[in-house]
């Protein structure tokens, strides 16, 4: 049978055949998959302002079954809820700190007034335990952005303090060029869970001391390592002050090495599926909120890279692998042109591991909903093993 004839035959079969197995497309499976994408936070409309409420608290996150970590979670979820607004909207975010740690929120990629930029001691004082801070800005520019904590950023971002911020445009050139109905947001991160645990404990202990001193009006520049000016700091060192970055003070003398890699707070096999149908376009918003570079490769397809840092690119770029650097957002359009179940993963395969064991990490799948169940059937040997059909969850290759 020639390839063209085969394709025609299989298309005809599709019309009559049962589609994908229930394990992927049952109501509960689809609902569970939808939960793996950050749900948009519903705003309160206050006149012409869209008001959002975010809080931060310590939370437990199950990255995969059997493995939980303590996280810092916006509204008790990692990633935080998606903030989705229209370009030009007046946005107010009321941020409540329910932890015993300091925090801020930085609006990554947004053109906010500088006092709203969320950088502690540069644009604002940290939001201290129990405090509230109100961020206000106009939603500019359009596109895929994100928000994250900018206090103790190395720790706090790894600990889960990030979420997507989507600025929609009515006259979106991307949608015009590649009409789509469905879109997905994927936030990538990398975690050294041992660093997270040790540093969160250490920071919680330090903050108990510091808050007691603060409440009693006993702020001390050297103890808090906070100085008015660089000159004042330089003079303090000349006078014998030992900064915390010295190994005879507190520096650990080593950088964290991530051993868990997540998409939307989950690692394979709990990562989300991207559902698509034949001839459908889907938009995927990729956000790297972690510290590692990811080289994301889609099997069986090329895709169109249509936006970079939220902004539509002048000429969409056809490719099958892209580099998603820390802090970058990239938007891609996937065209439903090759029916099947296709993996979409980091080609630096060290990031496709859980605790150093392959497969895991940020491995996920593009799944054609209209894939005939017959195409997922397995051979006799597999059936003898008790396996039913593809895809199969394999944890130790």
């Amino acid at each position: 049978m020639k390839r063209r004839e085969f394709m025609q035959t299989s298309t005809m079969l599709t019309a009559a055949a049962a589609l994908l197995p229930a394990s992927l497309l049952s109501t509960t499976a689809v609902a569970a998959n939808a939960q793996k994408f950050p749900a948009p936070l519903k705003p309160i409309i206050d006149g012409d302002v869209k008001e959002f409420h975010l809080f931060i608290d310590v939370h437990q996150q199950e990255i995969v079954p059997g493995f939980k970590i303590h996280t810092l979670a916006f509204n008790n979820q990692v990633p935080g809820p998606e903030i989705r607004v229209k370009r030009g909207d007046k946005v107010r975010v009321i941020f409540k700190n329910k932890t015993e740690l300091n925090h801020t929120i930085h609006w990554h990629g947004m053109h906010v007034p500088w006092r709203m930029d969320g950088v502690p001691y540069v644009t604002q004082m940290p939001v201290m335990p129990g405090q509230e801070f109100v961020y206000e800005f106009l939603a500019e520019p359009q596109g895929t952005h994100f928000y994250h904590c900018h206090w103790g950023t190395l720790l706090h971002m790894q600990a889960g303090m990030y979420g997507s911020l989507i600025v929609e445009e009515d006259d979106d050139p991307i949608r015009k060029q590649f009409p789509y109905e469905r879109e997905y947001t994927l936030l990538y991160s990398a975690h050294d869970v041992n660093f997270l645990r040790e540093e969160m404990n250490s920071m919680l202990e330090r903050m108990k001391e510091r808050m007691y001193l603060m409440k009693n009006g006993r702020f001390n520049k050297e103890r808090f390592a906070v100085f008015n000016t660089k000159d004042e700091f330089v003079q303090a060192v000349k006078d014998g002050y030992q900064p915390p970055y010295l190994v005879n003070r507190r520096a650990p003398d080593e950088l964290p090495v991530p051993n868990w890699f997540t998409v939307n707070g989950k690692s394979y096999p709990m990562t989300p599926n991207l559902f698509i149908k034949e001839k459908e376009n889907i938009r995927v918003r990729l956000i790297n909120a972690g510290t590692e570079e990811h080289y994301l490769h889609l099997h069986g397809h090329d895709f169109w890279q249509v936006a970079d840092d939220g902004l539509p690119v002048p000429q969409p770029w056809q490719r099958n692998t892209l580099r998603l650097s820390p802090g970058k957002t990239l938007d891609i359009i996937i065209e439903g042109k090759n029916r099947g179940i296709w993996t979409f993963h980091d080609h630096d395969t060290r990031r496709v591991t859980n605790n150093g064991l392959y497969p895991g990490g940020n491995l996920l799948a593009l799944v054609y909903e209209d894939l005939p169940a017959k195409e997922t059937e397995l051979n006799m040997m597999a059936k003898k093993m008790g396996l039913k059909n593809l895809p199969i969850v394999a944890l130790d290759e």
């Binding site: 310590v58 303590h70 041992n194 645990r197 404990n201 202990e205 103890r223 030992q242 003070r249």
Partner: protein, 395 residues
């Protein structure tokens, strides 16, 4: 030929097994404490100096691993340089034990610290006030202070509501070797006990509670008391009560105080103390307390000053017999983990003890202390971390 084949097969098989089942690396713990001091001792006007006393210097090596069902397993091996006048040799293996634990239960077996004290006091060396701070081992010859501190232990503990510790323990306390044997051969259980403690985890110190610790313990030594057949009459019973209170739980200028009372019910037929055997069996009440000031400049200890003291009375003796001790010391931190120290001890003895130890003893010590506690290949959190205590326990 068959033997060679079998050996080859065995080597091959061992290799295959190793390849197929590579071991998961355990968490590795290393604790070390170096104590070097220059001592001057004055006992009844007799003066002696020691150029370098490095007793109490020791090393602990531990390995921990996650087990199935949320338990962790641990092995610890430790060695210590004993007092120069002990008969324990150059090096003494004071800790060799295995432990399994989950969030609320602990089982420990092996050579380790016995439950002869409920709390520790801020002295330079562990045994500086041993006659007050520890229940004395009635089986010992009195030659080695380590006999009172280390033994073969089996201990089960249960933790209620994060702060209440119930421990049931049995020990084999060291006995003198009976010739012609050259080392101990009988390791049967010769002590049992029970302790109940209310203990604030160290990580929650800055929650500034007033009560840091309250404890009560019962130690019972199963002796072969002559002339008594019932186990109850043969048992030497001790009751311990302790407390630690934060007088000023300030992160910079911290002050706490602590006390411990050990009441040895003794044997009522001991009316005089003429040797160590009598000392441990005479009815007595040992009281010890300390007040400690700790200055923490940049969230690390910088200077510690402590005043400790105690007295011990023996109510059943024919002659009034008492023992007093005062210890004043300071630790000044030269850098992370490294202290310069100065300690002054004064002891007084009266009654029967005067014949054994002289009227008084003065000891002045100046030294350096280096103490580290490090972990590598960290894999899981501890029961008492703030995350586990205040934000839900993760096994």
């Amino acid at each position: 030929m068959n033997l060679l084949k079998n050996i080859a097969l065995l080597i091959l098989l061992t290799g295959v097994l190793h390849g197929a089942f590579a071991q998961v690396s355990p968490e590795i713990q290393l604790s070390a404490r170096g104590v070097m001091s220059f001592n001057t001792d004055i006992s009844d006007n007799q003066k002696a100096t020691s150029v370098n006393d490095f007793s109490d210097t020791g090393l602990l090596l531990g390995f921990r691993q996650k087990l199935y069902s949320n338990f962790r397993g641990q092995m610890v091996i430790g060695l210590q340089f004993p007092d120069a006048d002990s008969d324990l040799g150059q090096v003494f293996f004071h800790q060799t034990f295995l432990k399994i634990e989950d969030q609320k239960n602990i089982l420990k077996m092996g050579r380790s610290r016995v439950r002869s004290a409920l709390i520790e006091f801020p002295t330079l060396r562990d045994d500086d006030a041993l006659y007050f701070t520890d229940v004395l081992n009635p089986f010992s010859s009195g030659e080695n202070t380590e006999d009172n501190q280390y033994g073969n232990v089996i201990e089960a503990a249960h933790v209620f509501a994060q702060r209440y510790w119930l421990r049931v323990h049995g020990e084999h306390f060291t006995k003198p070797v009976q010739p012609p044997a050259t080392s101990e051969t009988d390791f049967s259980l010769n002590a049992v006990g029970l302790t109940l403690e209310y203990l604030i985890p160290e990580t929650q110190l800055w929650n500034r509670p007033f009560i840091q610790q309250l404890g009560i313990g019962f130690n019972n030594f199963l002796t072969d008391r002559q002339g008594f057949s019932s186990q109850f009459d043969q048992t030497l019973k001790n009751i311990l009560v302790s407390g630690i209170f934060n007088l000023k739980a300030d992160p910079v200028y911290f002050v706490d105080t602590r006390f411990q009372v050990i009441y040895n019910l003794g044997f009522d037929n001991i009316s005089e103390i003429s040797n160590y055997f009598d000392l441990t069996r005479a009815r007595s009440a040992a009281h010890f307390f300390s007040v400690r000031f700790l200055y923490r400049k940049l969230e690390r200890p910088t200077l510690q000053l402590a005043l400790s003291g105690g007295f011990k009375v023996f109510p059943d003796l024919t002659r009034e017999t008492r023992q007093w001790q005062v210890i004043v010391n300071t630790f000044y931190r030269l850098g992370e983990n490294f202290d310069l120290t100065l300690q002054l001890q004064q002891s007084q003895f009266s009654g029967d003890l005067k014949a054994l130890y002289g009227k008084s003893e003065t000891r002045i010590q100046a030294g350096l202390v280096f103490s580290i506690d490090q972990r590598w290949n960290k894999q899981f959190d501890d029961r008492n971390s703030l995350l586990n205590l205040e934000h839900g326990y993760i096994p």
